[in-house]
Structures are given as structure tokens and as C-alpha cells.
Symmetry: C2
């Protein structure tokens, strides 16, 4: 069992906002970064919330992330935008891109925006949700450091390349957010921490053989030594490996290719990040009555949830339901943070000069430090 | 081994064009239908070429497909279109939709079109390729009779819901065309004909248990008795079943939801087809210099093909390469047609009143009929 400490949403919000301010971000920018990170924790996607703080902090220290960078629109039409991210925080570039895409989509009906030279932007779903909250269909995606091995290959050439889509529906919006790899690097990290063997069809070793050794795969990814994670569909064509690889390509095209940015296989080399993102906002009203369309979707989602279950299962989820339940639970009962992550947050407090006890309470530091993997 | 008869492309073209004319389609419409069907055979996707003739012929006989229907634009903006298909041939509705989407995309930069009340339209890739041939990015997708069981369910609720995307690149365009199920119904039919057990993770029986019995699954799909094919990602969340199911939903939204058409679970019920399609055309020039963008994609595709191969593999394919090779081979050496399909084509000739020998040559009918599964 992993030890956790539970914090109220408001406490983590204050901590995070103040910490990013101390790093040099404006109050407004700190609020945006915090909002993206905490939505991830509220949705139960631990790997992209507080657990990411250490990577952002190190990214800023190393100069990969430029605190003072401002996103800049370098090319635009009424239905499109290319944004130069100037190595800024992914969350700020992402939010800027989607806000502007929404504005254009409200006028033109649709807008596709992409961003080059950015950094990790958190969960793709955050930006898709921004459009959905405005009554639009939203898409968001990002490339990343190469971790996906193409079908028949043995070197990671694409990122986890998640694609998210959201669209208004009742009682919950449709909210689909998934990597185009069979699993994420975060999942491998969890298996590694728990010393569990990976499932077959998840990963290759550096020689391109299937492996269940998480630690080995993670080391090879960092060292760019070969091997990596398989596309959705696994190792072989019979299980659809080439399809996941194809979805990874779709993501790459809307992120790095159309923006003339850096493809996943060239990011994070030589002190340069170079992450690229893609966004789209579409107004359902360009197809008819938005309300009728929303009802039509809601009916189909209900039919799916109410359709017969397979043996041993008592419910069918529609995409976004689990996130809604997690959100409600965590807003009410607080967010349980892994002790290793709390130790990282404490170090982060000290690094930026925040009063640990004020933000994170009187936790047993010595005890936590022993359990922390933070270096 | 399956017996085949090899025909020249031109012979099949004459046969098919004349046969559809005899069914009541105009010369122009027959040419379009033929072009879609034969591209499938030329690309090596047998299940959607000549092998489909019998289904179209039966669809027309049953009144599911209306020969005289004309697609009608019922809602449009500079970036969108909703088309009423009036139960016409899917190929005619599809081609009409993509032609108009291309026109609008050349003016507005992007156009999303969907079609309701249509029929099976052949391979989605045909329409994506239409946009690509005009220098645009093309998307095409379709819902279908329900065959995909949602994760944790035991009743087919979504179609095979293929999504295709194509974009210009050298020496081959990017051309990705894949069902969002782990495999297609056509693949199950092949396993059934060969009496081979299915792979695990492909299908469920009517009680929602994993099964390897192709014949049973196919029967249950037709009878709507339960069971069906799994989404890309297979049976379980650990292998990404919910992701394939999510892609199936994306397809459904752009086909049946936005067009206010019939969702897969309600199509092909009570003498009504109701298939819906979705299309998009995007001009890369709305992001910058089209030529630079095409070169950027071509470079990445080359890097993928040239990246290290896993043990036992000597090449990595990029999407669309296999189709280009198949096309070149078949245009040169002819198209090998399964004898069962030839028998169907002979019956089709007789039904519409075409001279069998003139179109299909002096084949040994008795011998073929014995081998045919056509009823």
C-alpha cells in the first residue's frame, strides 16, 4: 500500500499558485498552471497533477522552460492559427491557443490551432473541456518525448501522443482523453514502483523483443537506447498495432507537422524541449440546432450505459463519467497525494521559499523523506 | 488455398460500370460506384471491392438502396454541410459530400460535412484520398450496422466505425484507413471460411464471454442476439479497450450525431439502412507554406521507415505504403478475384442481363458454382 496524505482542493490551490508566483510567473499565469494541474488530480489522473511539479521545477531550472515567454500568433486565418510557444510553459501556451481557437470558432464555426516550441501541457482533456464548457466540440493533443515504437520497429519515434475530444451532453459531457500508446509512461512508472511485471504487448526491450520489465524499459527510454512502449493495439498487426501507430501519426501531424515544429523523435535532445500541441474548436451550430444535437448525443450515451453488461460487469461507462465521479468525490473528500509526491512538494516549497507548514501542514518530514524517491 | 481468377483492371471496370447502368444508375453514377469499388481491390482490400457487389445488388432488390435518390444539402455554412442521402448508394452520397467539402475547403480553408440516411460507401480511404489528391488533408468515416461491443458490454452498439485520414507527402501520401474495432467483420468472415479459430481479445459470444468461434459471432451479429467484435484494444481496460471504444464514439459523433442521423445501434432495423458518414477537408495552406509542410511530413515518414527494425522484421511501413505497392502490382499484373466472388459476379451478370462471357470470359461455371457460397 502506498501512503497518502489527503489535502483539501483549496489548500493545494493556494500552495500551487503561490509556488508558481515565487518561480516568477504572474498571478494570472500561476492560476492557469494550477488550474490545469489540479483538474488532473481532481479527475483521478495522478500522473499529471501534483506528481508533475518536480518535472516542471527541474525544467525551469535547466532552462528548458522559459518563465517569461509569451505565446505569439505567427500565422492565422479566420479558421486557423499557428502559435510560437517560445519555450514557455505548456499550460500557458495551451490555454492561450484554446482561448483564441474558441473565439475564432464562435465567429467562423471552426478553428484549428497548433503550437510549436512549447513544453508539457498537462492533460490534453483540460483544453478539450474548455471548448466543451463554451458549448463547442473541443479537440486537444500533444506530442512528447519519443516513447512509442512504431509497428515492427525497435526505437521510440513517436510520443505517447494523447488525443482528447469533448462535446456537451447531459448529464455528463462526452470527454475522451487517451494516449495513442497502449499505456502511458506513467503507468509503467507505477508498475515499476510496485515491482510488478508489465502485461505482454505493452513494451519492447532495447533489442526490440517483448518485455515485462518496467524498470529496464524506463531506463532505455531516458537513455534513448532502444525499445519503448507499443502503440494502442500492442505488438502485432493482428491485434491492431498499426492502428494505434496511425493514431499516433494523426496526433503528430496536427501538432508538429502543421506547425513546422519538432517531431517527437527530435524533442528533448540537446537541451531543447520543443513539444508541439494541436487544438480544434467546432461549433455544433454549423450542423443545425445545437440543442437537438446535444440531446441526440445524450440519448445515445444513455443507451450505451443502459445496454446489457458482460458477465462479471455491472456497468458500462461512457467517456467522461469516471472523471465526473472522481471530481465530485475529491471536491468533497479531498485529494489524496502520494507521500513521495508530498516530499517533492516540500522540497519545492523550500526551493522557492514558501513556508512548508503553512501550505502543507505539520507532516513528519523525516519519515516522508525516507520514503521519497525525489532527488 | 483459395482459387482465384485474375482479371485486368479494365475488364472489371467495364463489367462493373455496365452492370450498374443496367441496374438503373446513370453512366456517370456507375463510373463513380465502380471507381470506389475497384480502388478497394487495387489496394488489396478485397472485402470492400467486387466481393461487396452481392450486398449492393441485394440492398437494391430489398429497397434499402434507392437507385434514383439524389443527395441533398439540407444545411450549410462556409465551413460545413449536412447532406440528406435519401437512402441512395453510399458511394454517390460520399463522393458528392467530399467533392463539395473540397470546394468549400479551397475557399474557407476547412469544411466538415456529414451525411445521414445513406448506405455502405465502400472504403473510407477513397474519400480521404479525394482530398489528398487535391493537395488537402482529408478525413472520411462512416458508421454501420452495430458490430462493436462497448467495453464491459455484451451487445453490439457501435459499427466497425472506420476513420480514414490522408495527407500529401512524397514519395507516397500518408493514407491511414482503419476500423475502430480490433478487426473488421470481413476478417471474421475470412477466418470462418478457413475454419480458423479467432485470436483472443477479438470477439464475445452472445453471453458476453470471450470466444474464438467466428461462425457463432457472425450468426449472433446478424440475429442481433448479443456479442460481437471488440474495440481496438481488445476486451480489457489494461489493453486499451476503452480507447478503441472512444474512437468508435468519435466516428459516431461526426457521422450520425452531428447529422441528426441514425446511430449504429438503430441502423438496419425494420427494412431501413440509415448509414451515416462524416467527411472533412482541410487546406494545409491555412497553417503556412503547403510545400514546406509536405516536405516536413515526408521527412518524418522517411525517418520512420529508416528507423531500426525489431528482431525478425526487415521493414517499417508508413501508412499508405502497402496500398501503393498493391495498386502498382494489380494495375500491372491484374486483380485476382476469389472464385466465390466470380460466381457472384456471374449471377449478377445474369440478373442484370449482361453477357457473362463477354465480361468475365469463358469460366467453368459448374466448377465455380460448386465452390461458391453464394445463395
Amino acid at each position: 500500500m502506498t501512503n497518502t496524505i489527503t489535502y483539501k482542493y483549496e489548500s493545494l490551490k493556494s500552495f500551487c499558485e503561490d509556488a508558481f508566483c515565487k518561480l516568477g510567473f504572474s498571478t494570472e499565469d500561476s492560476k492557469i498552471i494550477t488550474d490545469v494541474l489540479l483538474l488532473s488530480d481532481l479527475y483521478g489522473i495522478e500522473s499529471h497533477g501534483m506528481q508533475r511539479l518536480v518535472r516542471y521545477h527541474k525544467g525551469i531550472e535547466k532552462g528548458l522552460i522559459k518563465v517569461s515567454a509569451k505565446p505569439e500568433i505567427v500565422f492565422e486565418t479566420p479558421v486557423s492559427m499557428v502559435i510560437e510557444g517560445h519555450d514557455g510553459m505548456g499550460q500557458l501556451n495551451g490555454r492561450f491557443a484554446m482561448e483564441n481557437a474558441i473565439k475564432k470558432a464562435k465567429k467562423s464555426g471552426v478553428c484549428i490551432a497548433n503550437v510549436r516550441n512549447s513544453n508539457h501541457f498537462g492533460i490534453a482533456g483540460y483544453y478539450a473541456k474548455m471548448a466543451c464548457d463554451e458549448g463547442l466540440i473541443g479537440f486537444a493533443m500533444t506530442n512528447s518525448e519519443a516513447i512509442m515504437v512504431p509497428t515492427f520497429g525497435r526505437l521510440a519515434m513517436l510520443g505517447s501522443n494523447p488525443i482528447a475530444m469533448s462535446m456537451p451532453a447531459t448529464p455528463y459531457p462526452f470527454f475522451f482523453d487517451a494516449s495513442t500508446t497502449v499505456v502511458t509512461r506513467g503507468k509503467l512508472e507505477v508498475y515499476n514502483k510496485n515491482n510488478e511485471p508489465l502485461h505482454e504487448g505493452w513494451a519492447l526491450d532495447k533489442n526490440g523483443k517483448g518485455t515485462t520489465d518496467a524498470s529496464d524499459v524506463l531506463k532505455n527510454i531516458v537513455a534513448k537506447a532502444g525499445g519503448g512502449i507499443m502503440p494502442l493495439g500492442g505488438e502485432f498487426e493482428y491485434s491492431g498495432s498499426h492502428k494505434g501507430y496511425g493514431w499516433g501519426m494523426v496526433c503528430e501531424i496536427f501538432c508538429s507537422i502543421l506547425s513546422m515544429g519538432i517531431t517527437s523523435n527530435h524533442t528533448h535532445i540537446g537541451g531543447k524541449g520543443g513539444t508541439c500541441h494541436g487544438f480544434a474548436a467546432i461549433d455544433p451550430a454549423i450542423f443545425g440546432d445545437s440543442h437537438d444535437i446535444e440531446e441526440h448525443l445524450s440519448t445515445f450515451l444513455k443507451e450505451l450505459r443502459e445496454s446489457p453488461k458482460r458477465e462479471g460487469e455491472d456497468r458500462i461507462y461512457t467517456h467522461g463519467e469516471k472523471e465526473v465521479f472522481a471530481y465530485e468525490d475529491r471536491m468533497k473528500n479531498g485529494i489524496a497525494i502520494n507521500v513521495n509526491t508530498v516530499a517533492e512538494m516540500i522540497d519545492f516549497c523550500k526551493f522557492v521559499g514558501l513556508d512548508v507548514e503553512k501550505y502543507l501542514g505539520d507532516v513528519n518530514l523525516e519519515q516522508l523523506k525516507k520514503q521519497s524517491s525525489y532527488e
